[in-house]
């Protein structure tokens, strides 16, 4: 069945492009495929992968952004994860933080649990939600030319982006999942560890 939100982008190619030469970009990934995609693009201490805490990715990004106003935060997550934390789109916009972007890898499916249709696969438009919440810059990308343009903008602007990816499942690439290790190495790489 084809639905209006069906995408064709290859999620691994998209994420590899968005995270190419990341510099000191601070990256938070939502649980499931976004975490696997970021790990496959190259593990690094300034990637904080979620393996749980569904719905929390954007808010973790906001906490980092407020703490590190001179750096930029990219939250990379899936449609299901963002749908669970949809209120955070209003909270981030209301916070006034400008050094954060959110990119949603949207295949309209709950990929981790058997590819059941999510709300975006049933007609909900997260880009429209973000715009209604007060995000000033909202983009939907459907091809790699658009993705290549987003790579820089996501690191410089306060942007909400929806990336229309295909629904096919990729081989799992499992980055580290010990939360204490991930948190500690992130803080050390940032130079904020206290011991």
């Amino acid at each position: 069945m084809t639905r209006s939100n069906d995408g064709t982008l290859d999620r691994r190619v998209v994420v590899a492009e968005l995270l190419r030469e990341p510099g000191d970009l601070l990256v938070v990934t939502g649980l499931g495929s976004a975490t696997y995609d970021a790990g496959a693009a190259g593990d690094r201490p300034l990637n904080f992968y979620l393996w749980g805490a569904m719905g929390g990715a954007a808010m973790i990004g906001l906490g980092i952004a407020l703490a590190q106003p001179d750096k930029h935060v990219l939250v990379l997550t899936g449609d299901g994860e963002q749908l669970m934390g949809m209120g955070a789109l209003a909270t981030l916009a209301a916070s006034g933080a400008k050094n954060i972007s959110v990119a949603v890898l949207d295949n309209g499916r709950f990929g981790e649990t058997g590819a059941q249709f999510s709300h975006t696969g049933l007609g909900a438009d997260l880009a429209a939600v973000a715009a209604a919440c007060g995000w000033q810059t909202v983009v939907t990308a459907r091809d790699m030319d658009a993705v290549r343009l987003l790579r820089t903008r996501l690191r410089e602007e306060n942007m909400f982006a929806v990336l229309r990816i295909a629904a096919d499942e990729k081989p799992r690439h499992l980055p580290p999942r010990d939360g204490a290790y991930l948190a500690d190495r992130f803080r050390r790489a940032l130079g904020v560890a206290t011991d």
């Binding site: 601070l26 938070v28 904080f48 749980g52 805490a53 569904m54 719905g55 929390g56 990715a57 954007a58 808010m59 973790i60 990004g61 906001l62 906490g63 980092i64 952004a65 407020l66 703490a67 590190q68 934390g85 209120g87 955070a88 209003a90 909270t91 209301a94 916070s95 939360g179 204490a180 991930l182 948190a183 500690d184 992130f186 803080r187 940032l190 130079g191 904020v192």
Partner: protein
């Protein structure tokens, strides 16, 4: 000279503990803290749509080298349970100040179930729970709880009893 209220003492304790971010879902019992946070140019006050956002916010603050506290009402504790796996699993500090409802002079029956469950569900989720009953102990308890949370990297909740904050007045 006006005597400082216990609420002012709590705000001072948060500042002394190095808190620079406060996430909150509004509550009458936290009114002073919320207003003080917004009036303080060195404090980032973040209004949340649901309390669990504050746990993720606090985790991000810690990752970024800052300290955050979450202000909520006991009814909000129930919204937080799965997100509490974040600080527990990542060995992160977490400090929340919870105004209690449903226990002392409560008028609204809808507040009772979550008020009664609050200390139990927090404990079950791995949060260390303290409870303040008297105005003269609150600021010290918040200060000690902040030390415990941030120096040993554990989640800590301080419950402000409804007797302390005063039962909500329904007929004014």
């Amino acid at each position: 000279m006006q005597h400082p209220t216990w609420q002012e003492g709590v705000y001072t304790a948060l500042k002394t503990a190095g808190i620079t971010q406060i996430g909150y879902v509004p509550d009458a019992g936290h009114k002073h803290l919320i207003e003080a946070a917004h009036a303080d140019p060195d404090m980032k006050a973040v209004v949340l749509t649901t309390e669990e956002e504050g746990i993720a916010l606090a985790a991000g603050a810690w990752l970024g080298g800052a300290r955050c506290a979450l202000l909520m009402q006991s009814s909000g504790v129930g919204n937080c349970i799965n997100m509490l796996s974040l600080p527990v699993n990542c060995r992160m500090p977490f400090l929340t100040l919870v105004t209690m409802r449903g226990e002392w002079g409560e008028f609204n029956p809808w507040q009772v179930p979550m008020g009664s469950a609050t200390p139990h569900v927090l404990t079950a989720a791995g949060v260390h729970v303290r409870r303040a009953e008297r105005p003269d102990e609150v600021a010290e308890m918040v200060a000690a709880s902040a030390t415990l949370a941030f120096d040993t990297q554990i989640p800590v909740a301080v419950l402000f009893s409804q007797r302390l904050i005063g039962a909500k007045v329904w007929v004014k």
